[in-house]
């Protein structure tokens, strides 16, 4: 979606992929990608501020991590882990969809993944695994397993 040297650390790009938009974030040398759609109410998640983790042992104490790790939806402030899409608002809250990002050598054509002259079409339906559990049909909307961001040093 972009050349590495045109994507400085601390920046983000929001790109159109078919009918949906995906936010790609660079934090240090790591890249993260997330569906620009907040599972809470459908807000433009990737337009929100990125934030470090924050912890506190007692009232009045604030310990802020150095590294950005979360993105907060600009509508209601719900925060999601950039690497996994996991929200930390308690059990039962749906995760945002995270995408894997890799750095590859080569031309834009190769990255687009054309094969035998055919190119992937613009329409991709989002699918989720379905299984039967205790006589219930369960649709799994948890994020797909993803590495904790891909290293981006190679050119």
């Amino acid at each position: 979606m972009a050349k590495l040297d045109e994507f400085p650390t601390g920046e983000r790009r929001i790109v159109q992929v078919g009918q949906r938009t995906i936010g790609v974030f660079r934090v240090g040398d790591r890249f993260y990608a997330m569906n620009n759609y907040c599972p809470h109410m459908g807000g433009p998640l990737c337009e929100g501020r990125t934030k470090p983790w924050l912890s506190s042992a007692a009232p009045g104490e604030f310990v802020l991590d150095e590294q950005e790790a979360l993105v907060a939806c600009p509508w209601h402030g719900w925060e999601y882990d950039l690497a996994t899409g996991q929200s930390f608002l308690g059990p039962g809250e749906p995760p945002a969809r995270a995408y894997e990002v890799t750095v590859e050598r080569g031309t834009p054509e190769r990255i687009a993944g054309g094969r035998n002259g055919r190119r992937p079409g613009p329409y991709v339906a989002e699918t989720f695994p379905v299984h039967v559990e205790d006589s219930y049909v369960v649709v799994d909307t948890s994020s797909r397993p993803v590495a904790a961001g891909a290293a981006g040093g190679e050119r």
């Binding site: 934030k51 506190s56 042992a57 009232p59 009045g60 209601h76 402030g77």
Partner: protein, 332 residues
């Protein structure tokens, strides 16, 4: 249940000579009916002023195993912090001297000055270790919410002594009767005391992180209703999700914090008439696990309490009328 000295004279022997003259010279009165909190001809009997009264009126006829005395007579004390400290000490000595030794079913809530946290801590250290004292009784109407940082040492001192902190309806008439300010009508005052102010106190205690600072703190909400709790917590959880960074010490859903640290009493019970709807109201928050039976004797709040007990399952009734309070107050 309530008890109160019939008049300030009952406390004379527990007041230093200076405060006896202060009471006399200043025309200071003590109103056993919570500063006129109840209408003058309301159908509540006189507040029991002796163990004998209490035995005949309630302990024996109701067959109670254990009863906790709550004396709110100091709630409407004037704003002299030194007098308030003397008055609350006198009430505590009166409870320890004239009530607790006379019936082994009795336990008591101690009272503390509300204008001076240092004096309150000192009073908890003075009498909080008495085996019959199980609670520190605080008025739900205050200058600042109880969760405010300036009150943390008072709450911590209670927890260190293994005492529950009880927030009870009413307080000074000089404190606003609602969370947003003063009113002119008794109607607003009465309505607010039974369910509105307490919501501001719960919000304060949870938000200000006092349960993080004092993990052993247990709070009981007394005579403040309970059926308002599910809606408060639903919205509390929701809003916390978006703005948790402001209060990062609040490290779980507010509803979970409340479940760990707060219990509520059954009187008054603001409940519908339809038993099925009563059941639905209870199921909104598993209230069978959070409620503790209170007679609120001698105050009468109508038949809401009976409707509540009728809607409970056998197991819930056993918890609400006994085990919940035994566990919370360490009575077993």
């Amino acid at each position: 249940m309530h008890c109160a000295p019939a008049a300030l004279g009952d406390l004379s022997q527990y007041l230093e000579p200076y405060w006896r003259t202060y009471v006399h010279d200043g025309g200071v009165h003590l109103n056993p009916t919570q500063g006129g909190a109840y209408p003058p001809v309301v159908l509540t009997g006189a507040t029991p002023a002796s163990v004998e009264d209490l035995r005949t009126e309630l302990l024996d006829p109701a067959g109670l195993r254990t009863a906790i005395l709550n004396c709110t007579a100091s709630f409407h004390c004037n704003r002299n912090p030194y007098y308030e400290a003397a008055l609350t000490s006198a009430i505590n000595d009166w409870l320890v001297g004239e009530w607790l030794p006379r019936d082994d079913r009795l336990r008591a809530s101690m009272v503390v000055p509300t204008l001076d946290a240092d004096a309150a801590v000192a009073e908890i250290e003075r009498v909080g270790g008495h085996p019959g004292i199980v609670q520190v009784l605080l008025p739900v109407r205050t200058d600042v919410p109880w969760g405010n940082k300036r009150n943390h040492r008072l709450l911590a001192a209670a927890a260190e002594h293994g005492l529950v902190v009880g927030l009870h309806a009413w307080g000074r008439v000089g404190n606003a009767a609602t969370p947003t300010g003063f009113t002119h009508s008794y109607l607003e005052d009465y309505l607010s005391n039974s369910q509105m102010i307490v919501q501001a106190q719960v919000t304060s205690l949870v938000t200000e992180g006092v349960f993080t600072r004092v993990p052993g703190l247990r709070v009981a909400l007394l005579e403040c209703g309970f059926s308002w709790l599910p809606t408060l917590l639903w919205r509390f959880d929701k809003d916390w999700k978006g703005v948790w960074r402001e209060v990062p010490w609040l490290d779980g859903r507010p509803s979970e914090v409340v479940r760990r640290h707060i219990r509520l009493t059954t009187a008054p019970a603001h409940l519908p008439r339809d038993p099925a709807q009563v059941r639905q109201a209870l199921d909104l928050l598993d209230l069978g696990a959070l409620l503790m039976y209170a007679s609120d004797h001698p105050h009468v709040h109508g038949d809401g309490g009976d409707r509540l007990l009728a809607a409970l399952t056998e197991a819930e009734r056993e918890r609400v009328t006994g085990r919940n309070a035994e566990e919370w107050y360490g009575l077993a």
